[in-house]
């Protein structure tokens, strides 16, 4: 299963993380008002491991009646939750943060099973960030008067939150932690293909003694999400997902008093100047597009490389990509795991084929894909122009489009030539160039000589059609306050 050329002296031995640490029940209900319950109409759906297509569990599928019940439970809980002193709310969130830390390995394995991403990432990135996010927001709960939103900023009410499948538990943390810290209650709809970690989170809430109804989890597909955002009892909608759905939600909310934040797609440019530390830049470019199989809204999916170093960078990039290990996500040596679903795999495949059809040059390392599950080899396109579909559309997969530029001005113009504006990367040794380029990029997050860095203290979110509002940091609180 390795793509590695037979040049190294030693093969990797399998190093699988044990599944025994997590106990998945054969079925799960909806988590409403502190209790697990079946859907009103008894509907269920299966969730599978994308690496093996094994059915992991059967999960209740929420309908409108269930969403309504969840919103009512959240409304009822809001009265007491929002009236709690901030210091007491803080202590609940600190408890949740600690329990998430304690159960980090279990949740990492679970997330890897349900999502398909490598255990190295869930263990070292997702879970530590999840706990940190609750820890950070816990501290805000009794300090909101210091956050710059007036002496006593008030919560909005019930937050309806719809999250994606690429970072299931981390996106839950980004949504739930600030909502609760500011005194709101929550109805959260996890993605259809990755419901499990949110349901385990319900158990974390139980262990933390969180009052019932403060967090409600309704699993289901897009229809459940649509019912939630349209529910008249919801005061705030937060959505992370595709730009198309985000626009639909914006239309649904038009004319209501609901507050909306959207974290949508991206087509991030990673700009490599000729004076960049190239080895470091190549590492960053690889991380930028292959982290989480490229299923990252802020992925650096367009590489803009200065012409003078194009060949050198491409050689190094191909060498580095050839050493990536694709396969069993539970193997601790795996760099690239499974694509999350058959649909996503079909979308990536179609877009990559289109790239080839439109005349870009396709390259992948020699790579054996596992027989079962959903897999896509890391892929590089050269001779890409700005008109190509693969340079414009978000692929949301391990596919990098390489373009070139001659001057910084051209780099900025190309980087900004997209309806999106979520992330960008700048690679150069020159500080003033970093800042000059950063000033002119229309992107909500700009990484310099690094990429894909996340921290609960640092606001995240996009310009233009990448959505509006920020998550994280002091700025992220605004989304959940009546200001």
């Amino acid at each position: 299963m390795t793509m590695e050329k037979r040049t190294s002296a030693f093969e990797y031995a399998p190093a699988p993380e044990s599944r025994a640490v997590v106990d998945i029940a054969p079925s799960y209900g909806l988590f409403i008002d502190g209790e697990f319950a079946e859907a009103a109409d008894g509907k269920v759906f299966k969730t599978v491991s994308p690496a093996t297509e094994e059915v992991l569990s059967e999960v209740a599928e929420a309908g409108e009646a269930d969403v309504d019940r969840a919103v009512r439970a959240a409304r009822k809980a809001f009265e007491t939750w929002s009236a709690l002193p901030g210091a007491e709310r803080a202590k609940y969130l600190f408890r949740i943060a600690r329990i998430l830390q304690e159960r980090g390995r279990e949740l990492a394995v679970l997330e890897t099973l349900d999502n398909g991403k490598p255990i190295r990432e869930t263990r070292d990135a997702d879970l530590p960030l999840v706990a940190a996010h609750f820890f950070y927001h816990a501290g805000w709960a009794d300090k909101l008067s210091h956050a710059g939103y007036g002496p006593d900023p008030r919560p909005l009410g019930v937050a309806g939150q719809v999250i994606p499948w690429n970072f299931p538990l981390l996106m839950l943390a980004w949504k739930v932690a600030p909502a609760l810290a500011t005194g709101n209650t929550v109805v959260l709809k996890p993605a259809e293909t990755t419901p499990l970690s949110a349901l385990f989170f319900a158990d974390v809430c139980r262990q933390a003694g969180l009052p019932k109804g403060v967090v409600n989890i309704v699993t289901g597909d897009g229809r459940a999400g649509a019912a939630l955002v349209a529910h008249p009892g919801v005061d705030k909608v937060a959505f992370t997902g595709s730009t198309a759905v985000g626009k639909q939600i914006a239309r649904t909310l038009a004319g209501t008093r609901k507050k909306l934040t959207l974290e949508l797609g991206g087509k991030g440019a990673n700009i490599v100047f000729d004076d960049a530390p190239l080895d470091q830049a190549v590492e960053g470019v690889v991380n930028g597009i292959f982290f989480n199989q490229g299923q990252v809204c802020c992925a650096g999916s367009r590489l803009l490389v200065q012409e003078s170093v194009h060949d050198e960078v491409l050689d190094a990039l191909k060498r580095r990509i050839s050493t990536l290990r694709l396969g069993d996500p539970l193997d601790k040596n795996t760099d690239i795991g499974a694509i999350n679903s058959a649909q996503q795999l079909a979308r990536i495949t179609a877009l990559a084929d289109r790239g080839e059809a439109e005349g870009a040059e396709r390259w992948s390392p020699a790579c054996q894909l596992p027989e079962n599950g959903y897999w896509f080899a890391p892929t590089l396109f050269t001779n890409v122009t700005q008109a190509h579909t693969i340079a414009r559309d978000e692929i949301f997969g391990p596919v990098l489009s390489v373009l070139t530029f001659r001057t910084p001005d051209e780099a900025v113009a190309k980087a900004n030539n997209t309806p999106y504006g979520l992330s960008a990367g700048i690679w150069t040794e020159k500080g003033s160039r970093i800042l000059a380029v950063a000033n002119r990029l229309r992107a909500g997050v700009v990484w310099s000589n690094t990429f894909n860095k996340f921290d609960p203290t640092s606001p995240f979110g996009g310009y233009k059609e990448s959505g509006h509002g920020r998550e994280g940091g002091r700025h992220g609180l605004e989304a959940y306050l009546d200001v």
Binding site: A138, D142, K143, H146, A436, N439
Partner: protein, 296 residues
């Protein structure tokens, strides 16, 4: 049967550099409860003890101030966790020290635990509240950030033996300073016991150093010490405070003057943190890309 058992008394010792030494002077003084009943013999710290504590605090400063704010927050929260588990011990000690009922003492201890939680949450937020980008009139990136001032001498309040103590120590270390704490002269036992919690909370040795003894005797060398950056005079009376402030001027220590505090349980602001923070402003040219510019 338990009535007949003779209890084991604790030997109260200082907390310096993560260890529990006696005073180098070999001296102790009698600590009594509010009715004059003997409670313990506390170390009567000397000038040398104070200087040793400063050395320990200075040694710890680099790593503590260099730790991530997140890490410091976790450790402060850990202190709250450890205190919660030993709540009964502190309730007893505070009740004895301050002559309070068990219920009143419990309120003090609970508030002290919550105070650690309050400051645990501040470690990674204070920079976002007091720092920020400055829109200078030129092509420059310009960012102001708070940094800890260094070693802070803290004279703990003379009456509020535990809540007052925690309320002056936690804000000092939350931001990355290290502290030499002089416990309330007549109520040093809860402070000395705090060392036992700090020692088991992942707090690096030397970040907090706790001395007991005559406040005036220990404070004088601290106020004059050239390697102490700041002093909190909470536990000094008016005359002593003036004398120490004069001594502190010799190396321009940051001085937090004593303020009347009626109720230590009130929610604090940020003043006890900002008193011991420096503001560092970094400039960097943003450069220009050329005349044409991009119109996006």
């Amino acid at each position: 049967m338990s009535d007949a058992r003779l209890s084991v008394l604790k030997t109260y010792k200082l907390y310096v550099g993560g260890k529990f030494p006696r005073s180098e002077s070999g001296r102790v003084y009698e600590v009594t409860d509010s009715k004059g009943t003997w409670l313990a013999n506390a170390p009567l710290s000397s000038r040398k003890d104070a200087r040793d504590a400063v050395v320990a605090a200075r040694k710890a400063f680099g790593a503590w101030s260099g730790a991530t704010a997140y890490n410091r927050g976790q450790i402060l929260y850990r202190i709250a966790e450890m205190l919660e588990g030993r709540r009964d011990q502190y309730v007893r000690e505070v009740a004895e020290a301050e002559g309070l009922s068990k219920a009143k003492a419990a309120q003090q201890v609970d508030a002290a635990i919550d105070r650690w939680v309050w400051y645990a949450g501040w470690t990674d937020k204070i920079a976002q509240v007091v720092g920020g980008a400055n829109p200078v009139a030129g092509p420059y990136f310009n960012l102001s950030s708070p940094e800890p001032t260094g070693v802070v001498a803290v004279l703990a309040p003379q009456k509020s033996s535990f809540l007052g103590l925690v309320s002056v120590v936690a804000p000092v270390i939350a931001t990355g300073n290290t502290a030499v704490v002089v416990a309330g002269e007549r109520v040093p036992l809860p402070a000395l016991s705090l060392g036992e919690v700090l020692a088991t909370s992942d707090l690096p040795g030397g970040v907090v150093n706790i001395l007991s003894g005559r406040t005036a005797e220990i404070a004088a060398p601290l106020a004059a010490h050239q390697d102490v950056n700041a002093i909190d005079l909470a536990g000094a009376d008016e005359a002593l405070a003036k004398e120490l402030e004069i001594a502190a001027a010799d190396n321009l220590k940051r001085v937090l003057r004593p303020q009347p505090v009626d109720d230590w349980s009130a929610t604090p602001g940020t003043e006890r943190m900002t008193a011991f923070l420096e503001t560092k402003t970094v400039w960097h040219p943003t450069g220009a890309l050329g005349a044409s510019g991009s119109s996006y």
